[in-house]
């Protein structure tokens, strides 16, 4: 447990690589078959929205909104960024709009579909470990999740895009519209909070 481990993420290189090795032209062609786009990217967009919002139902609604927006604007997609980046950017704007409108409608209660710490911790894939180890793993996931909930919106977005969606820094910068140095700064701060919470370093 205490051994050194590193995340098996994409390298922190600035060069742009399309996910799955697809080219821009392929992305545009891919967009022509929108059902396929939904099938391929829905889990990813839903996951990002769910981890950002912490609510399954809201995430599902925003996922639908995201794909509807993408469908309506599919003719405007020029393939300058990857399809995944484009969709994530739409999702990010939806999160921003939703949080803004939720701040205005502050009297509305959060719903039962909000993700609970226990909920998430229960979803660790069973790797045939002993109950004790499984319990420890659940604790770790809870610690990370509570640290993520403490982060500011931008830090949280950058952290989730990097460590849950496994995006490169350049892709995150493109998606969020930040400079790469700003992305690094947010990521550094987010990691520091997580480290303090997890207590590893």
């Amino acid at each position: 447990m205490g051994h050194m481990a590193t995340t098996d993420l994409a390298p922190l290189t600035p060069d742009k690589v399309m996910p799955g090795g697809t080219s821009h032209e392929q992305s545009i062609l891919q967009l022509a078959d929108f059902d396929e786009v939904v099938r391929l990217y829905r889990p990813r967009i839903f996951r990002f929205l769910m981890s950002s919002m912490g609510d399954r139902d809201v995430a599902e609604s925003l996922t639908q909104d995201c794909f509807l927006k993408a469908y309506n604007a599919r003719n405007q997609f020029r393939g300058e960024s990857s399809l995944s980046t484009w969709l994530t950017r739409i999702a990010l704007n939806l999160v921003r709009d939703h949080l803004r409108s939720r701040r205005i409608r502050f009297w509305q209660k959060t719903r039962d579909s909000a993700l609970d710490l226990v909920d998430i911790a229960d979803w660790i894939p069973d790797g045939g470990v002993t109950p004790e180890i499984s319990c420890l793993q659940q604790e770790k996931v809870k610690e990370v999740w509570s640290a993520v909930e403490e982060l500011s919106r931008q830090q949280r977005t950058v952290f989730l895009l990097r460590f849950v969606e496994e995006m490169e820094l350049s892709e995150i910068a493109e998606t969020t519209g930040m400079n790469t140095s700003t992305v690094k700064s947010h990521l550094y701060r987010a990691l520091r909070v997580v480290r303090e919470r997890v207590g590893g370093q």
């Binding site: 447990m1 481990a5 701060r189 997890v198």
Partner: protein, 173 residues
């Protein structure tokens, strides 16, 4: 709390290296577990929603054509209607307010203009002020009696001629 954390340690760009952005050890392990859990939750939720949609929707193959995006379309239309309604209401309120306020304001303005005190207090423009002075001058101007004629000559000589102190002294003498 976040602001406190941010301001507590100011980070220079030099301090941020690629290595510092890569978690290691227990932190990396925890993040990997967190990622696995999030992936599992998401996969399960998507599968569940898809199953529910498949049970309720018509047997049409296209996601775009049948359903799954239908609620989003409803929400979009509802949002558009709400926006239009809100703007219409705002415009109606603004129009009602202007209908109520503008005539009253105009009335007050006209009354203020007719008020003599208000008229007297109004600042005059320079041109009208000069014209008024000329008018007053004309009104009060009278021909000078013949006995005072030398004085007027003296006055004109004073105003046009040299005005050195010694000359003035001589004139008064």
């Amino acid at each position: 709390m976040n602001r406190f954390l941010n301001s507590k340690h100011d980070i220079s760009d030099a301090a941020i290296t690629d290595a510092s952005l890569e978690p290691s050890g227990e932190v990396a392990e925890s993040i990997a577990l967190f990622r696995a859990a999030m992936h599992s939750v998401a996969m399960h939720s998507v599968a569940k929603h898809s199953m529910e949609a498949r049970e309720t929707a018509q047997p049409v193959a296209s996601v775009v054509a049948n359903d799954w995006l239908q609620p989003a379309r409803h929400r979009q239309r509802h949002h558009q209607r709400t926006t239009i309604l809100a703007w219409s209401s705002a415009m109606a309120c603004a129009a009602a307010l202007s209908f109520a306020i503008v005539p009253r304001a105009l009335q007050t303005h006209t009354a203020a203009h007719n008020d003599p005190v208000h008229v007297a207090a109004q600042p005059q423009s320079e041109a009208s002020y000069t014209a008024l002075l000329e008018q007053v001058d004309n009104e009060i101007a009278e021909p000078v009696p013949s006995s005072l004629a030398p004085l007027t000559e003296l006055d004109s000589w004073n105003s046009t001629g040299s005005t050195t102190p010694t000359e003035n002294k001589n004139v008064t003498q």
